[in-house]
């Protein structure tokens, strides 16, 4: 079920350069069922900025009715969001979309989780759920620079974690695919979220592996009504187009034309 709720800020903290971690509480959390789903957030009650912002769910705590998002406060909306203090309210629409299928991997198998920048957050809840199921995970997380790195400790506590930075200031230098070629990790299924070029490179690196990719696009409604966020599909796919907000944001590899 999709709900709209004015949720309460529990905690807000800056965890890297321009990167904030925000925990909200409310009933809506009860309907969060799958890692990789997102929420659509209104950051003010006035009409400027006007539209909601899509943000991934980074972790869920059903007992406390809390969930956490991690976001970059660079643009107008996210900067306003980053000023919210505990006790203040945020208008949330969600949970939205289809996330990462945890059921597509068996206990005892290994999952490769590849995240880039603000694509890293949804992988955290995914990794927790995979571990709960008895799946091993390898985390490969790409960032611009050491100042932008976040959640290294959280991921490391779960399983093997490799940091890649574009400028080499932390971990390996280069792109996540450079590290993957070097380390050639063994795994059964890959899951990824990040910039589209990274998703494309991953599909090419592992032509024969089962994989799931989470996509981004500018959105209007966030629920499938406005056709803002459609993506073209490959010839292998039955539907001619898909909506990232309601059919995705996560699709099996090979479905979306890259």
């Amino acid at each position: 079920m999709i709900h709209q709720e004015r949720m309460q800020v529990v905690r807000q903290q800056q965890i890297a350069e321009d990167i904030f971690e925000l925990t909200l509480t409310g009933q809506l959390v009860l309907d969060m069922k799958q890692p990789g789903q997102f929420v659509h957030i209104r950051v003010t009650d006035t009409f400027e900025p006007l539209l909601r912002r899509p943000i991934s769910i980074a972790s869920i705590n059903h007992e406390l009715l809390q969930f956490t998002m991690i976001y970059r406060a660079e643009g107008r909306g996210m900067t306003i969001l980053s000023a919210k203090r505990p006790g203040e309210e945020v208008d949330v629409l969600g949970p939205l979309g289809h996330g990462f299928p945890v059921e597509e991997i068996e206990p005892g198998q290994t999952a490769l989780l590849v995240g880039g920048g603000i694509g890293v957050p949804p992988l955290y809840q995914l990794s927790k759920e995979l571990h709960a199921k008895g799946v091993r995970t390898i985390h490969v997380l790409g960032f611009q620079s050491e100042n932008n790195v976040f959640y290294e400790k959280e991921f490391s506590e779960l399983d093997d974690t490799y940091i890649v930075t574009a400028d080499g200031s932390q971990g390996t230098k280069g792109f996540v695919t450079d590290l993957l070629r070097d380390k050639a990790p063994e795994f059964d299924v890959f899951y990824s979220c990040g910039p589209t070029p990274m998703l494309g490179a991953l599909e090419q690196t592992y032509p024969d592996k089962k994989g799931f990719l989470s996509f981004e696009e500018r959105m209007g409604c966030g629920i499938g009504a406005c056709y803002a966020c459609v993506c073209n599909t490959t010839d292998a796919t039955e539907k001619e187009y898909l909506k990232i907000c309601s059919d995705g944001p996560v699709f099996p590899r090979g479905v979306v034309k890259l």
Binding site: I2, Q4, L50, L51, C221, I223, A225, C226, A228, V230
Partner: protein, 303 residues
């Protein structure tokens, strides 16, 4: 007595709140959130003869108190709409206004003729004002003669009343309004979007892949209000007003300048419950203003 009841050609509306075309798909998505039977009517997404895949993405961009869109009339085509979308909507007690688009007169006529025969389609909305497609659309809406001729051609084949949707991107909107009235239109819907552009701050290129997009939302409301105000003095057919409606006060404003009902577009994205919320708020608004029924508000700016 239902204080919100409004009677229009082909449309007996239990309230004047209608989701605007293109902002509500074919209803399925919002049906997850609330009962569509609450709505006065639904303007479904523009339907063309053939399937249209629309423009490349990005298709939307935010602006100050508004947004740009260039969806490009993506829709599954007439046949699919007749076979799936409209039948699905039959389970709701809500009249459908079918938004009809095309490239040339023949397509408009073909879509209009077929879709006007669907049992739950109570009116057509002739889209001669879409700014986001290369041919068809807005070019009919900026020339009085073409607008009038197209209206007449569609009227000749339609089984239900025809409303013509006007573009605000014109020097003289009353001239177009009078032309479509002369062409036989049963009503007018206005306004479609203003043409606009937003750039990416780093690259300096348009954010929207199509370059320009249609501007909608609260930012355009003053333009819409003045146009409805003007057109309502110049034609004798009813107007369904739109452009920036987000609150019950906005609805009162459109009715005040002469609209008989209103459509709500962009605001659905900001608050997905905006339509039922407005419907619920209207009776109290009437009390505050001292009116018995909503129809008493229509045209009060002119009195």
């Amino acid at each position: 007595m239902n204080r919100l009841q409004v009677e229009l050609p082909g449309l007996s509306l239990k309230n004047p709140i209608i989701p605007a075309s293109g902002c509500f798909g074919f209803g399925q998505e919002y049906a997850q959130l609330y009962d569509l039977s609450k709505l006065g009517a639904i303007m479904i997404k523009a339907t063309t003869l053939e399937t249209r895949s629309g423009n490349p993405t990005p298709r939307v961009a935010e602006t100050a108190a508004g947004m740009l869109n260039a969806i490009g009339l993506q829709n599954p085509g007439l046949e699919h709409v007749l076979a799936h979308e409209l039948p699905w909507l039959e389970k709701y007690d809500v009249p459908i206004i079918a938004n009809v688009a095309g490239t040339e007169t023949a397509d408009y006529v073909a879509v209009a003729e077929a879709i006007s025969k669907a049992p739950n389609v109570h009116a057509l909305e002739l889209n001669i004002s879409c700014p986001n497609v290369k041919c068809g659309g807005i070019q009919f809406g900026t020339d009085p003669k073409s607008a009038s001729d197209l209206t007449a051609a569609v009227k000749a084949v339609s089984d239900v009343p025809v409303y013509v949707k006007l573009s605000p991107n014109v020097t003289n909107i009353s001239e177009i309004a009078k032309a479509v009235e002369a062409g036989g239109a049963d009503g007018i819907t206005m306004i479609n979007t203003l043409i606009g552009m937003r750039l990416h701050p780093k690259t300096g290129k348009p954010i929207i892949a199509n370059g320009t997009g249609g501007l909608s939302g609260p930012a355009v409301k003053p333009v819409a209000i003045r146009m409805v105000h003007e057109v309502s003095r110049n034609v004798n057919i009813p107007i369904i007003g739109m452009g920036g409606v987000a609150t019950a006060e906005d609805v009162i404003d459109f009715l005040s300048v002469g609209a008989s009902a209103v459509a709500v577009g962009t605001a659905n994205f900001v608050d997905p419950f905006v339509c039922p919320n407005i419907i619920e708020a209207l009776p109290q608004k009437l009390d505050e203003l001292g009116y018995d029924k909503l129809t008493d508000v229509i045209g009060r700016s002119h009195r």
